[in-house]
């Protein structure tokens, strides 16, 4: 449950961030999310054609200062980074490509209804 929740959260934060900030027009855009299982890890690839954005270089919010100085932003990317075991960013042409890995045990996969469907 914990791993599934974290995967859900990571994809939610990354895609929500793209929808909110990646586009400077009102045209239709495609965001592609591909999840596959590879050598004990779930590998997620998120692609968009928005403005260049490398979440790895995104500023880390100060999570220890008093409430009055906390900023109401950047938390989503921070959470996504913390819950991922690996994160690679590439800019290919007009596309942001983020590849994220998360280690999962066989026990965790056995609880998943998607077992055996990864390729």
């Amino acid at each position: 449950m914990r791993t599934l929740f974290q995967l859900n959260l990571v994809i939610d934060e990354l895609v929500t961030n793209i929808i909110n900030y990646a586009y400077r027009d009102d045209a239709e855009h495609w965001i592609t999310v591909i999840v596959r299982f590879e050598e004990g890890s779930l590998v997620m690839r998120v692609e968009d054609d928005g403005i260049p954005f490398n979440p790895i270089l995104s500023e880390v919010p100060d999570c220890s200062c008093p409430v009055e100085r906390r900023v109401v932003g950047k938390l989503g990317i921070h959470l996504a980074r913390q819950f991922a075991d690996g994160l690679v960013y590439e800019r290919c042409g007009n596309r942001n490509i983020l590849t994220l890995t998360k280690r999962v045990s066989k026990d965790q996969l056995a609880k998943s209804p998607q077992k055996g469907r990864s390729n």
Partner: protein
């Protein structure tokens, strides 16, 4: 997401269930800030039924907490599932919000 609110001995208790994400957080914000605007400043958030929270939900709590700072009010959380609590820890929210296991223990803090 469902939110049920009730006032008990001067403390406003929100019982939240379901998902607190970017779709549902605007409703959560309206309800929470509405109660604060109406003058309540001692709040308990019962999250026993919350099975998902993203940064959108955290932002609402932070916003409410910032407003309550000015009126010496506070929000106490309770009933967080372990994996939900972990999100609060990583976001550094455990230093902003006291977290208790049950509603009764949260109510005793006022």
């Amino acid at each position: 997401m469902e939110i049920v609110g009730k006032k008990q001995n001067g403390i406003y208790i929100f019982t939240v269930s379901g998902r607190l994400d970017s779709n549902t957080s605007p409703d959560f914000e309206t309800r929470l800030l509405g109660v604060i605007k109406d003058g309540d400043k001692n709040l308990v958030m019962n999250f026993e039924g919350v099975d998902y929270i993203s940064s959108a939900g955290l932002r609402v709590l932070l916003k409410a907490s910032k407003i309550l700072q000015n009126s010496a009010g506070k929000i106490i959380l309770c009933g967080l599932k372990d994996y939900i609590r972990e999100v609060f820890e990583i976001a550094g929210f455990v230093t902003i919000f006291p977290i208790y296991s049950t509603v009764d223990s949260a109510l005793n803090q006022f």
